[in-house]
């Protein structure tokens, strides 16, 4: 249990939550450093909201511990925890005006000098002068900011955000993402943000934990996870990946040799999660290039041959589908640099990449197989 991080770290140690026979959170251990912006990313039902609710005290863990700054809080009632939540539905009190909504936590703790603090908080979320209004008189974005102010005013050690931007339209959501990041930097409170939106998690968080079926599949900085995913699930949940099923046949110097569909590929050993057996060879679509079939590839590149079967122009890039000889479809995103034209459908091409951009993931035989979460040292799990 030794941990020499700052005093305010939030730690989950072997936390499990079961609802009947369903395991929502499965032996989860992680440390969220004080002052960080941490995102729990996953599809709905993956256990991320349950994890958040256990930290808030709205659910009791079936087993395991939740520690805040070394103190065990998992058995404390929610109103005894120095933790506040911004709820997905905002849950503003309809019978109170905005001022009283924001002041709610301070009043319950019998804090003096409420008015000044509320005014300051309303101006932090840019809602000066809205104090006398009722929640139903505000727009969704304004209500979201009231919910944020109502939680932040209590200076919690940890602020929990449960998909707070889910109800907002795209433009407002982008705006609020920047806003939230600004406020987090300003107040320096630990933010734990639950979301299913991978772009939101990547733009805002210092550290992202990708959850699947009650476990963390991978944890790290957004770029780390994106550039070198740990599992096939992560590779496809965070962005898109082309995964070729192959088998490791050996090594050659610093490279791992992989055979897939009769072709041989190489990947630097440090880009491989496993070094033997059945693997996925993965490449991100934007790291694939198209060349006319038969043309020489750039030095060091390797590729597969195929035919363009689909192309969609999305402005910043054109997204192609290339069907290989063995029937797999590869996605290729070609940036719209203005150099070179569109590749017509039906063109025989070679999709090629630099081996340093590829990665190797374990390939499980059965669907239920799982791998241990990969935890970088910076945010190491308790053990």
């Amino acid at each position: 249990m030794a941990n020499n991080g700052p005093a305010g770290d939030l730690r989950l140690a072997n936390v499990t939550k079961r609802f009947g026979i369903f395991t929502a959170v499965d032996d989860l251990s992680l440390t969220i450093p004080q002052g960080s912006f941490f995102a729990l990313l996953g599809a709905s039902g993956c256990g991320k909201t349950t994890t958040l609710r256990m930290v808030a005290g709205l659910e009791q863990p079936t087993s395991g511990q939740i520690l805040l700054g070394g103190a065990e809080i998992s058995r404390l009632r929610p109103y005894k925890r120095p933790v506040n939540t911004v709820f997905q539905s905002y849950a503003l009190f309809p019978h109170l005006d905005i001022f009283e909504n924001v002041a709610f936590g301070l009043r319950r703790r019998r804090v003096k000098e409420i008015a000044g603090q509320v005014e300051r908080m309303l101006s932090l979320v840019q809602l000066e002068g809205y104090g006398k209004r009722r929640p139903n008189q505000l727009s969704g974005g304004q209500q979201q900011r009231v919910a944020l102010a109502r939680a932040l005013i209590n200076h919690p050690q940890v602020l929990l955000l449960d998909e707070p931007l889910g109800a907002l339209d795209l433009k407002l959501r982008r705006q609020m993402q920047i806003e939230l990041k600004r406020i987090q930097t300003e107040v320096g409170i630990t933010f734990v943000h639950v979301t299913h939106d991978q772009e939101e998690a990547m733009t805002m968080a210092d550290t992202v934990a990708v959850m699947n079926a009650g476990r963390i599949e991978q944890l790290g900085a957004p770029a780390e996870i994106y550039e070198f995913p740990a599992t096939a699930f992560v590779a496809n949940f965070l962005g898109q990946s082309n995964l070729l099923a192959g088998t490791v046949t050996g090594t050659s110097g610093a490279d791992l040799l992989i055979e897939a569909y009769g072709s041989r590929f190489s990947v630097p050993v440090e880009r491989a999660r496993v070094r033997q057996g059945d693997v996925h060879l993965g490449v991100r679509p934007e790291k694939l290039f198209l060349a006319p079939a038969g043309d020489p590839l750039p030095a060091g590149h390797q590729g597969v041959n195929g035919v363009v079967t689909d192309s969609s122009y999305v402005g910043v890039s054109t997204q192609y589908l290339v069907r290989t000889a063995w029937g797999a479809e590869l996605a290729v995103f070609a940036p719209n640099t203005g150099i070179g034209g569109q590749v017509p459908i039906g063109t025989p091409v070679t999709a090629h990449w630099h081996p340093a951009h590829a990665f190797v993931l374990p390939r499980e035989a059965g669907a239920g197989d799982r791998t241990a979460p990969i935890l970088p040292d910076a945010v190491a799990a308790a053990s």
Binding site: L58, Y79, G105, R108
Partner: protein, 306 residues
């Protein structure tokens, strides 16, 4: 021409296209009044006309009688006379009904809350149980209480054995019996509006409050109770008004010492045949109820209810 903008026809359009929409518009304007007509007729016939009749009766010469006939003498003195003679029954009506209302809130609020928020799949069954007694007659239910509270009943025996009641103590024919009867008989009127309100209570608001440092007691005081005020006001009014006007409970479970204003009006109309006094008492009662309701709703601050 302002009509045109409502129906979407271009202003200054050809005359032919204008005529039809205007006729349709007129019909649409009349529709609400047509829908109001049956209810308005009903109210006029069975409320407004009898109310005027009753008001007139209350001002008849008190010296008249059913045999001799009544003369309209604008006898406003009927009112102070009636009040002077029967103010104890007035006071008793509101006291009994008031105590019964408090008891009904104490019983009904937790019950309604439990059914609405905690009953799960038992919700409908429990609601049926609340309403089920209403399937038997009011009179029959009150008579059943008379049996339960009777001097040789098991309840009195038990209370005497436990020394909660003196050896010669009684339950029947006491104020407590009347209040109990009122509480029992009108409880569903308290529970149902409260249930309807608490059923819509968003538990996420309660979670939010407890996340914001409110203990369970404070969550109730600051969130649940204020949000359920419309249900509570509706329930107390639906309970208090008929309970204060009731006379069956006092008649069957009490003695003349427990008689309420309903008993007096009943006897004035049907036994003593003193119509002017009965009418004056009815009007006084109505006026007091209206005043109480007005003040109460104002104080409760729920403009959504009335």
């Amino acid at each position: 021409m302002s009509v045109l903008s409502h129906v979407g026809a271009p202003v200054g359009g050809p005359k032919d296209t204008v005529r039809e929409p205007v006729a349709g518009q007129r019909r649409r304007r009349l529709l609400p009044y047509l829908l109001l007509l049956p209810g308005a007729l009903w109210l006029a016939l069975f409320f407004a006309v009898p109310a005027v009749q009753l008001a007139a009766t209350s001002l008849y010469d008190p010296a008249g009688s059913l045999d001799l006939g009544y003369a309209m003498t604008w006898a406003f003195g009927n009112y102070p006379d009636a009040l002077a003679a029967y103010w104890p029954q007035f006071a008793r009506s509101f006291a009994y009904a008031g105590i019964a209302t408090v008891l009904a809130v104490l019983l009904g609020y937790p019950l309604a809350y439990a059914i609405a928020q905690k009953a799960g799949r038992w919700k409908n069954l429990m609601l049926v149980c609340v309403v089920a007694p209403m399937f038997t007659s009011f009179l029959l239910r009150t008579l059943a209480w008379k049996t339960i509270l009777s001097d040789n009943g098991w309840l009195v025996g038990l209370l005497r054995d436990l020394h909660l009641l003196a050896p010669d103590g009684r339950l029947l024919a006491t104020p407590a019996a009347v209040v109990l009867g009122l509480t029992y008989n009108f409880l569903p009127f308290m529970v149902l509006p409260l249930y309807a309100n608490l059923e819509r209570l968003d538990y996420r608001l309660l979670e939010a409050a407890s996340d914001l440092y409110a203990s369970p007691v404070r969550v109730f005081r600051r969130v649940t109770l204020p949000l359920s005020m419309p249900g509570l006001v509706a329930g107390t009014l639906l309970f208090f008004i008929p309970a204060s006007g009731d006379y069956i409970n006092a008649e069957l479970l009490g003695t003349p010492n427990e008689y309420m204003i309903g008993n007096v009006i009943d006897s004035a109309f049907l036994v003593r045949l003193d119509y002017p006094q009965a009418a004056a008492l009815s009007f006084l009662f109505m006026a007091v109820i209206l005043a109480i309701v007005f003040v109460y709703v104002r104080r409760a601050g729920t403009d959504e209810v009335v």
